[in-house]
């Protein structure tokens, strides 16, 4: 009962903020970029994008690691008498 009311207030607040956002529609006519798609296919035919994506995921993981360590260090600095 209490948590339902709190959650309802929270969701109402978030929903109010989100209602300010414009509606997003990612659907578009892909035929207009058919030439671009062809170039992408040509580049993917030459460049090993599967390796590139693997490297990108590793970079993302390393960045997450940096964020985690920085967060811990910041918390450590904030705590007094340490």
């Amino acid at each position: 009962m209490i948590f339902e009311a709190l959650i309802h207030i929270l969701f109402t607040f978030i929903g109010g903020i989100l209602s300010l956002l414009p509606s997003i529609d990612l659907n578009f006519d892909s035929s207009v970029i058919s030439t671009a798609t062809q170039f992408v296919r040509v580049s993917a035919y030459i460049i090993p994008f599967d390796d590139v994506f693997t490297i990108l995921s590793i970079i993302t993981t390393l960045q997450a690691w940096r964020v985690l360590v920085s967060l811990l260090k910041t918390i450590w600095d904030i705590i007094p008498l340490l």
């Binding site: 009962m1 929903g15 956002l21 990612l26 030439t35 993917a44 090993p48 490297i55 390393l62 940096r66």
Partner: protein, 407 residues
């Protein structure tokens, strides 16, 4: 130390007071004609049952202790507190039945019309009775005046139990009103035996109708029979009742019945405390544990604003598929050369870039590129490793400048 001794001296007095306090309101709190929930009306303690009933001014209880091997398919107990139909007379009936329970198709419930033993009641069969073709022979009983003739079904102990009363509207009214809601008293009988040796074990159910007329079982069954082998046994009760004395006149073709009314103080206190704790726990749960359905509705309303994420995910997956086209597929870039001249359209295209010449060298070139990409990446990681370990910035040069005070 003296304070502690004083406390110890006071403690028994407080305990006795609490005991009295709990014992008296145990019935006083139940006065006012409140309908008992199944958990309150019928409780099972090992081989004993405690069945509460309304005696016109308060609630009393009777304990039935079954000694021997309890056989749920051939013995049972009915608990009825339908004070509306007994003119405030207590009503506890022990039934036997030539056929009690579901029929073979389990589409109705049948209860025999001859109670084996009634403690106080001379007006027999004041309980809900569901039956089939024997309805016309029923006298004194009633079938529920089914509201919009619903089919009731629920699962108890893994068994689907349901019935659809074909005599809807033909019976007597059984509905009662409590808290402004329509309630229906539904004793349930389930028994696998079809011989006369059986009792029907029954439990008291309460439910209500929702706005659509569907019957909702409000509370679970405190005890329901399970399929087990029939064997004779003995009911033994002890104690004294507050509203009358019981005489044991019932006989059982499968065994003997020995019953005496009981209303022990200790059992009342224990059950009262247990009920109080359960009420407190359920109240706390209702206050602090949110309803999952409400949360789901709130979540769905919120997540509906991000449906475009699913579209983006599908587009990205399609892009990955395009990147990982099979080697035998040789892409090309074509130029559209179609023209429209005096209303006539001439279509045509020309290949601007065709990589068919690259196909024989593709695996070799990609292998070389893959090696250089990985080498470059690993070298960068190696150079940035100290920064990565200490969670520093991505750019070592920036960190160096900040330390040295450079621009």
């Amino acid at each position: 130390m003296k304070k502690h001794l004083r406390f110890l001296a006071v403690f028994p007095v407080v305990f006795v007071f609490l005991l009295f306090f709990h014992s008296v309101p145990a019935s006083a709190a139940l006065t006012g004609g409140r309908y008992l929930s199944p958990q309150e009306a019928l409780q099972v303690f090992g081989n004993s049952f405690e069945c509460k009933y309304w005696n016109g001014s308060n609630y009393s209880s009777i304990s039935l202790t079954y000694s021997g091997t309890f056989d749920t398919s051939s013995h049972g107990m009915a608990c009825d507190n339908s004070n509306d139909y007994l003119n405030s007379r207590p009503n506890i009936l022990i039934y036997s039945g030539s056929y009690s329970g579901f029929n073979s198709d389990r589409n109705y419930i049948s209860v025999d019309l001859s109670p084996l033993y009634s403690i106080f009641d001379t007006e027999q069969l004041h309980t809900c009775i569901f039956f089939d073709s024997q309805y016309s022979t029923a006298s004194g009983g009633f079938v529920p005046d089914v509201y919009q003739s619903p089919t009731w079904e629920w699962v108890i102990g893994g068994q689907l139990m349901y019935f659809n009363n074909p005599n809807a509207g033909n019976g007597y009214q059984t509905e009662a009103r409590f808290d402004g809601r329509k309630w229906l008293y539904v004793p349930v009988s389930y028994i696998s035996a079809s011989t006369f040796s059986g009792y029907s074990q029954r439990a008291c159910f309460w439910g209500n109708f929702d706005s659509s007329g569907t019957f909702k079982l409000g509370l679970s069954c405190p005890y329901i029979s399970t399929n087990s082998t029939a064997s004779a046994g003995t009911f033994v009760t002890s104690g004294s009742g507050s509203s009358g004395s019981g005489t044991n006149t019932g006989t059982n073709s499968g065994g003997s019945v020995d019953m005496t009314q009981t209303n022990g103080l200790l059992s009342t206190v224990i059950s009262t405390i247990s009920q109080s704790v359960n009420l407190i726990i359920s109240g706390i749960e209702r206050i602090f544990i949110p309803d999952p359905d409400v949360l789901q509705d709130e979540y769905d309303a919120l997540i509906s604003r991000f449906e475009w994420i699913q579209d983006a995910k599908e587009d990205i997956e399609a892009m990955f598929v395009a990147f990982n086209s099979p080697p035998e597929y040789v892409p090309s870039v074509d130029a559209d050369l179609g023209v429209t001249f005096y209303g006539q359209t001439l279509s045509g295209s020309s290949s601007v870039l065709n990589l068919s010449w690259f196909a024989p060298y593709r695996s070799t070139v990609r292998g070389i590129l893959r090696a250089f990409i990985w080498l470059f990446f690993l070298w960068r990681v190696y150079c940035h490793l100290p920064s990565i370990i200490r969670g520093g910035s991505m750019d070592v040069l920036t960190l160096t400048n900040s330390i040295s005070g450079g621009d």
